[in-house]
């Protein structure tokens, strides 16, 4: 899986890495149970600081996407590890974005269409 870093982006680099890993899992490029590279190897590969990769892995762990297992590294979790806590956090993450969409003038229908198009894009590519 190719991770592309955009240094000019408003999204911090650690979040760019997390987002692309999440998208890679969603698209099936990485499977539950598989390991991510070690922090050191990944940082060298991407040409970023180890601290940045660490922060990204920590974020993924907090989101319940990976488990950090001593000696084995970062393992992709299974969807059935999904908890009520993750669901509520996800809801909290959607809320400001939906409020923003409404403020920027999108209708309910337009938001639903945007979401449906993005699901389709990720699931079918």
């Amino acid at each position: 899986m190719l991770i592309r870093i955009e240094p000019e982006s408003d999204t911090p680099i650690y979040a760019q890495i997390s987002n692309q890993i999440i998208e890679g899992i969603a698209r099936g490029f990485i499977q539950p149970g598989e390991s991510l590279p070690s922090v050191r190897a990944f940082a060298a590969d991407l040409g970023v600081n180890m601290h940045t990769v660490n922060k990204s892995y920590h974020q993924l762990e907090q989101k319940g996407i990976i488990r950090i297992v001593p000696k084995s590294g970062a393992i992709i979790s299974s969807p059935h590890d999904f908890t009520e806590v993750s669901y509520n956090r996800l809801k909290d993450d959607y809320k400001p974005l939906i409020a923003e969409s409404l403020v920027l003038g999108l209708s309910k229908k337009q938001i639903q269409e945007l979401v449906t198009a993005l699901i389709k894009d990720i699931k079918e590519e």
Copy 2:
């Protein structure tokens, strides 16, 4: 409008402020054309650093939610100021969240229901 800061939250304080302002506009508590408090007054009111409020206003300006007008301060934009640029940025913001929802095992239907419930919550409260 009451802004509540949660110091323990994973969301940075400046983003908590932005998110609640956006939600306040979405819910109709603040109208397009109205002004936000001055950075100094708002910071004093919330008990946060002026730099934090500044960062929040800057983020809202970048999102196209407010315009910073010299001497007049921060003015809420109208939805018809909405541009293709904002739409594409919004799409970029939804994408990692939708990927994450899929990875955490939500079905297409569950994501659509979550989004619809949040729209209803914001529009009707």
